[in-house]
Symmetry: C2
């Protein structure tokens, strides 16, 4: 039985200077910015870039340390995680745990806009921090507005 | 003027042992394998994993050195590059060069299945090796067959 993957929700890119990165992605690369949001509780600010049915998510810090500090220190700027959109996150996480994959922290957590998310440790994925998200119908409406 | 990004074509993931990685992604993570191909001229074998309208691309070496050897040595297994699908690669690359982005090698090259591809250097993207691909109609038919 396979996990029901609907698509790539976003790719997280950790950057040291968010305004500078936004300038690069918008002005030099010619990509389209579709949102920007401060996540105060995590010390992050994120900027979303249009990629068809997916998005690139530039992640910058508004204080340190944050969940991306160690990554930036040891690896520098670059691709931080992949987020896959799944149909049923309960089912996906249960399957992963049963198969021995390492789910980070408390398992399924509340994400932005009433989504539910879970993170799989890079040890279980050949080096990829993998986020799963199940979006609510309400969120999809928000995104389209 | 923005580049016309149609979506994320694939995310390349460099791995040390392709058969083992396929086992992990298929059996432990429960994802669906949709193709496997040897790229003899590049010393690589790739395995494609379904992600809705996108794919994950596991990249393993069949000899060394290859274009992913340095990455594997210095950073270990993990996300190697992002490939964005664009409507007009000539237009996109011309725009990038004009804006000062560093296009790798000879610019637009022939990719798999008569696609055309170009690579943007991580120095121009805050650490992301960015591939652009313009697919031909013929390729889309191949993929669906």
């Amino acid at each position: 039985m396979s996990i029901d993957v609907l698509g790539i929700d976003h790719i997280g890119i950790a950057v040291k200077d968010l305004p500078q990165a936004i300038k690069t992605y918008r002005d030099t690369l010619g990509l389209r910015i579709v949102g920007r949001e401060k996540l105060d509780s995590r010390g992050l600010e994120v900027c979303f870039i249009d990629a068809g049915q997916s998005r690139l998510e530039l992640l910058g810090e508004t204080r340190t340390p944050t969940e991306i500090s160690k990554f930036l220190e040891t690896r520098g700027e670059g691709i931080h995680h992949i987020c896959l959109r799944v149909g049923d996150i309960e089912d996906a996480v249960q399957r992963l745990v049963t198969q021995g994959a390492q789910v980070i922290g408390e398992g399924i957590q509340e994400g932005a806009h009433r989504s539910r998310v879970a993170f799989i440790h890079p040890k279980s994925t050949h080096g990829v921090l993998l986020e799963l998200v199940e979006q609510t119908h309400h969120q999809e409406q928000d995104d389209e507005s």
